[in-house]
């Protein structure tokens, strides 16, 4: 399969603090790729680097056959990359519905946008129940659903997810992962998933990379990674 996103030799730094060193990752088209690593490894930084936000980078990033490194964040979004950031990034003072509408901000196909509202509400019925509620008052799980829903409203080719399981009860996490699998299958949306919960992520993803203090130390089929003894000891806890 071909790669929809290819990162080659990526370095990233916040001011003088170097975080990523020579990171190379490929996200296969139509697949789910997981990026795993401990706290502070640089997972969030990798996603920020892809969207050219808050971090200085060098190296090449190719999306759907075109270089996107150095482009403005909003242009990268407009090309079809939806980023569900660390901390979810919902608009707290706006309603659920307004948040979703903003996801479709750059789209002109009104009828399809209306269909997509229904589609998102079908994935997340909870959002429909609360569509007039201020996003800031939603529960953590609902906020995560809203953040994913807003990303879906963009009709992205690639979905970047930064720890969607963070701070959520196991039941809700299961639910969200089930929906992510459905989205990937139904919409053919490629996914780059950053997770600490390595068990779940390796279950869902076809490919996986392991990031350790800013360097990729392992990459390949999820099943192979999950079977590696050192990975099992360090990340899977058995």
């Amino acid at each position: 399969m071909s790669a929809i996103l290819e990162i080659a030799n990526l370095n990233a730094a916040y001011g003088e603090t170097k975080v990523l060193q020579g990171v190379s990752i490929a996200v296969e088209e139509g697949g789910i790729t997981a990026l795993l690593g401990a706290n502070g490894a640089g997972k969030t930084t990798t996603l920020r680097a892809i969207c050219n936000m808050m971090v200085r980078t060098s190296g090449t990033i190719t999306f759907a056959g075109e270089r996107i490194d150095g482009r403005a964040t909003e242009d990268i979004a407009r090309r079809g990359i939806a980023h569900v950031p660390d901390g979810r990034g919902t608009f707290g003072h706006l309603t659920v519905e307004e948040n979703l509408r903003l996801g479709a901000y750059t789209r002109r196909d009104r009828a399809a946008v209306n269909d997509d509202f229904q589609r998102v509400y079908a994935y997340f019925p909870r959002l429909l129940e609360r569509h007039k509620q201020q996003a800031g008052t939603l529960s953590g799980g609902e906020q995560q659903m809203l953040a994913i829903g807003r990303a879906l409203m963009m009709r992205p080719k690639l979905l970047l997810l930064d720890e969607p399981s963070f701070g959520l009860a196991p039941l809700i996490v299961r639910e969200i992962f089930r929906i992510l699998a459905a989205i990937n299958k139904d919409e053919k949306t490629s996914v780059l998933l950053v997770e600490q919960n390595a068990n779940l992520a390796l279950e869902l993803a076809g490919q996986a990379y392991l990031l350790e203090t800013g360097k990729i130390i392992m990459g390949g089929e999820s099943a192979v990674i999950a079977g590696d003894p050192s990975v099992r000891r360090a990340y899977l806890g058995y």
Binding site: A82, G89, R101, Y105, T106, T137
Partner: protein
């Protein structure tokens, strides 16, 4: 009673001017977290442009709308050319830039148009059917124009996609970029709209106050007071605050202390409110979950 009603209504009319400028201040504040102290001078300068156009023979309403376009462009220019380079500077540097702008616009207007006061036409006939014993036709018309402006701005932010995107960009620029909103354009658009709203306030105030470079100084102070009184993070609260300041100022001037001290009284009332409710009367009750 008659006199009281007259003072009250007249306070509402001038309060509308403060409300417009307060709204302009808050629109810029929400997206940049800075008070544009030069907003009043931009309005004054735009009003001079209107005056020039009227002198050149343009009919009033043509001059009015051309001035709005000019004021919009001026607002965009100030935001993109002067403020953008200092957006990451310290708070006080930005305040200095605004105060510098205030002084520059004031003296440039004085240099071009001199400091002698000029009469500025009112678009409303002096003997209109709707004028009466309580308010002059200009005051009634001015109230009408203010209401239309506030209504249009409200509808724009509430019901249009662009208005929604502007609110989003002001609230969370990072997330806005992630959905493809061009945040820089939104800031420029907000500054342009603020400039145009200020210009309306200037053109409505000028027939009463007479046009001169210091015309908007007092109005800016009252508008700022209104914005703080109503809640600097809530445009509609700020506008309402502006109206309240107008009423308090007028009633205090007429009944309590006379015109010399009315500013003092108005400010005392505001300080009093803020002591008890620091976020302003209608300051947004911030709902966030941590």
């Amino acid at each position: 009673m008659q006199a009281f009603l007259h003072q009250l209504l007249s306070g509402l009319a001038t309060g509308g001017i403060y409300a417009s400028l307060a709204l302009a201040l808050v629109m810029v504040y929400q997206s940049t977290h800075h008070i544009n102290f030069a907003q009043g001078e931009l309005a004054m300068f735009s009003t001079y442009i209107a005056w020039t156009l009227v002198q050149a023979g343009f009919p009033y309403w043509e001059a009015f709308f051309l001035t709005l376009i000019f004021a919009f462009a001026l607002g965009v220019f100030v935001q993109n050319v002067i403020l953008k380079p200092v957006e990451n500077a310290s708070f006080f540097s930005v305040v200095m830039v605004f105060i510098g702008l205030l002084v520059i616009f004031n003296s440039v207007a004085g240099w071009i148009y001199t400091y002698t006061v000029k009469t500025f036409p009112s678009p409303f006939p002096t003997q209109a059917w709707y004028g009466g014993s309580y308010l002059s036709p200009h005051e009634v018309g001015m109230m009408g124009v203010t209401l239309v402006v506030l209504g249009l701005v409200f509808a724009f932010f509430r019901f249009t996609k662009l208005g929604l995107a502007m609110r989003a960009a002001a609230q969370n620029p990072v997330s806005s970029r992630l959905v493809g909103i061009r945040v820089g354009w939104m800031l420029a658009l907000g500054a342009g709209l603020a400039g145009a709203i200020g210009a309306v306030a200037g053109m409505m105030a000028a027939p009463i106050l007479y046009l001169e470079p210091n015309m908007m100084g007092g109005i800016l102070l009252y508008a700022l007071a209104g914005a703080v009184l109503g809640g600097i993070d809530n445009p509609w609260g700020a506008a309402l605050g502006g109206v309240l300041v107008g009423v308090v100022e007028n009633l205090a001037g007429a009944y309590v202390v006379g015109t010399e001290l009315k500013l003092t009284v108005a400010l005392c009332v505001i300080v009093g409110v803020l002591v008890f409710k620091p976020s302003g009367l209608f300051g947004r009750f911030v709902v966030t979950r941590v």
